[in-house]
């Protein structure tokens, strides 16, 4: 698998699939939709909407993580396997910060809004610093090495982070305080929790702000220039080391925010959470088109929905098979993903 991933960029350059593979893909998607529809009709409508909302909430979190994968890939063509663990680290850092800011379970209220946001900001900052440090020690010295080398140090960094969290808080999964209100309300047949809304809004706002930032800021332009031609970018006065560091920082800050959101939504974190969640988010990034920022958000959302529907309408033990099946199918039939590579044809 690692070998296949190392070769991926060259696969990525072959645009689109043939007519046949498109047809096969369509047939598979149509079959899956028909099957899902059949199962959906067997259950109540309110159940469907509940699953839909869970899927969207999960999906936006996956999107947050997938953005970091896609950005880093977009700029230095590296799959940062440590990214999933930076996400977990977000959960761990925030857990450690809560007591400092006097946040504890059971007294949830509006008074917590400000401290919670402050904790989120500090966590994002810390995750960013960690990821920048990882890039500095593990990837930068290998920038001119064959592609496989930094990929392997990335896996190594992932193990180191998991080991560090293991040593810090032990192997068991930790309870993450329930800080969001548990109130639920009905709109027609749809039963929504306030928690769902907060999680979805928080993640969506971050995704939107971030996408705007990439499009509008000077740094965003520097990132796109660095991604397309590093030497030329340097000669245009762009400090590429700083630009790459900034990319790692922003990606990790989003992952850190994802870690907090995950904790608040699922109420538990464990040292190895980032391994599987990271892989799923990575699948989302590939599914949407690796290197493509809107693609990562869309891929995250779709993978979240697929996961939620598979978990509840089918057998949850098959969910991961399904998701990684999608990863393989995407790489085989449509290596550029749903929205294509980092740039559209014009």
């Amino acid at each position: 698998m690692i070998g296949a991933l190392a070769r991926m960029p060259s696969t990525l350059r072959t645009f689109g699939g043939s007519q046949v593979s498109n047809l096969v893909g369509l047939l598979i998607v149509a079959g899956a939709l028909a099957l899902t529809l059949q199962h959906v009709l067997q259950h109540s409508a309110s159940f469907f909407f509940q699953i839909l909302i869970i899927g969207i909430a999960d999906g936006t979190i996956y999107g947050l993580i997938a953005l970091g994968y896609t950005m880093v890939y977009g700029i230095i063509e590296l799959i940062n396997f440590a990214h999933g663990d930076v996400f977990t680290l977000g959960g761990y850092f925030s857990l450690a910060l809560f007591p400092i800011f006097g946040i504890a379970e059971g007294k949830a209220g509006f008074g917590y809004v400000i401290p919670l946001l402050v904790v989120a900001a500090i966590t994002m900052l810390l995750c960013g610093v960690v990821n920048v440090a990882i890039e500095r020690v593990a990837y930068r010295p290998l920038r001119h090495a064959p592609r496989l080398a930094p990929l392997i140090t990335a896996i190594g960094m992932s193990s180191i982070l998991e080991g560090a969290m293991y040593l810090w808080r032990g192997p068991n999964s930790l309870h993450y305080p329930d800080l969001l209100p548990l109130t639920r309300f009905n709109i027609g047949p749809v039963n929504i929790g306030v928690k769902d809304l907060i999680v979805i809004t928080f993640a969506l706002v971050l995704v939107v702000v971030f996408t705007l930032f990439i499009n509008l800021s000077k740094l965003g332009k520097a990132m796109r220039a660095t991604a397309q031609d590093r030497d030329a970018a340097q000669l245009m006065g762009i400090d590429i080391n700083r630009t790459i560091s900034a990319t790692f920082f922003i990606g990790a800050a989003l992952a850190g925010a994802g870690g907090i959101t995950w904790g608040l939504y699922i109420s538990s974190v464990d040292p190895f959470l980032g391994f599987i969640t990271g892989l799923i988010a990575f699948t989302a990034a590939v599914f949407g088109g690796i290197g493509n920022i809107p693609g990562a958000a869309l891929g995250g959302l779709l993978i979240g929905l697929i996961r939620a529907f598979s978990d509840s309408y089918f057998d949850s033990s098959w969910t991961e098979v399904l998701i990684f099946g999608i990863l393989i199918a995407t790489l085989v039939f449509r290596p550029t993903g749903l929205l294509g590579m980092r740039v559209p044809e014009k």
Binding site: L212, S217, Q234
Partner: protein
């Protein structure tokens, strides 16, 4: 030297070795301000390596590269760009998946003042600067004559337009010294004439042009002074008419190709 002005760029004993290979060997010369200066030599003579030593892509093994009175040998490329050195590449290197206008705007990047928060909150200052940057970028495109293609992706431009775009992008960094690496490569005679006209226009803006070129007619016509490199060593220097007659140059270079 004819002018009593200080040279804009002065190379003093520059050496660049790659392992056992000496690509540039003890090269010294001065590039006078406001002129067209040319570097010629057979393939593999070390011309592009020398350009790379000037822009900071390579760190010279030894020697000084003095730009406007400051030794910049070993300075990072983004710093040399900020100091006022711009270049184009032998094999065109544009940001292919950006519009022509955006390519030029990246060049202006180096002179922009707006900070992150300005961009995020769309402060009046950032908006004004953004508008000015767009206008200036359009002017650069107009200057090289490809303003009609502002919204096309760089990769979709014709070859000659891409070369012009590269020059526009380099000009956008507001350089004092512009390095052109084989700007006429692959050009038709007509395009070469247009290029020479463009070089004249650049000079009249007060920018010093330092070019590597293979086409002897272009070099002889456009440049005031020529340095000839062979196997990494400087074998001749002077005005075109003199260099043309130099026996070593004829042996090394003109004798074979002309």
């Amino acid at each position: 030297m004819s002018t009593d002005q200080k040279p804009i760029l002065s190379l003093q004993g520059v050496i660049k070795r790659f392992g056992g290979l000496t690509a540039v060997d003890q090269v010294s010369f001065d590039v006078p301000k406001g002129e067209v200066f040319a570097l010629i030599g057979p393939n593999g003579a070390g011309k592009t390596t020398l350009f790379n030593c000037i822009t900071g892509m390579h760190v010279p093994t030894a020697g000084r590269v003095v730009f406007e009175g400051r030794d910049i040998a070993g300075t990072k490329p983004y710093r040399t760009a900020q100091l006022g050195i711009a270049r184009t590449f032998q094999n065109i290197r544009l940001f292919e998946y950006m519009s022509a206008l955006d390519n030029v705007k990246v060049g202006e990047h180096v002179r922009m003042k707006a900070k992150l928060w300005d961009a995020i909150f769309r402060t009046p200052f950032a908006r004004r600067e953004e508008r000015e940057v767009s206008e200036r970028a359009m002017e650069h495109l107009r200057f090289v004559g490809i303003e009609r293609h502002a919204d096309n992706y760089a990769r979709n431009l014709a070859y000659g337009q891409q070369r012009r775009l590269e020059i526009a992008r380099a000009l956008a960094t507001e350089p004092h010294l512009l390095l052109l690496d084989e700007p006429a490569a692959g050009f038709t005679p007509q395009e070469k004439v247009e290029l020479m006209r463009l070089v004249d226009k650049i000079i009249s803006r007060g920018i010093t042009v330092f070019l590597i070129e293979h086409d002897m007619r272009v070099v002889m016509e456009v440049s005031q002074r020529i340095v000839v490199l062979d196997h990494g060593e400087k074998i001749a220097e002077g005005p075109p008419a003199e260099v043309r007659k130099d026996q070593r140059v004829i042996d090394a270079y003109l004798g074979k190709s002309a």
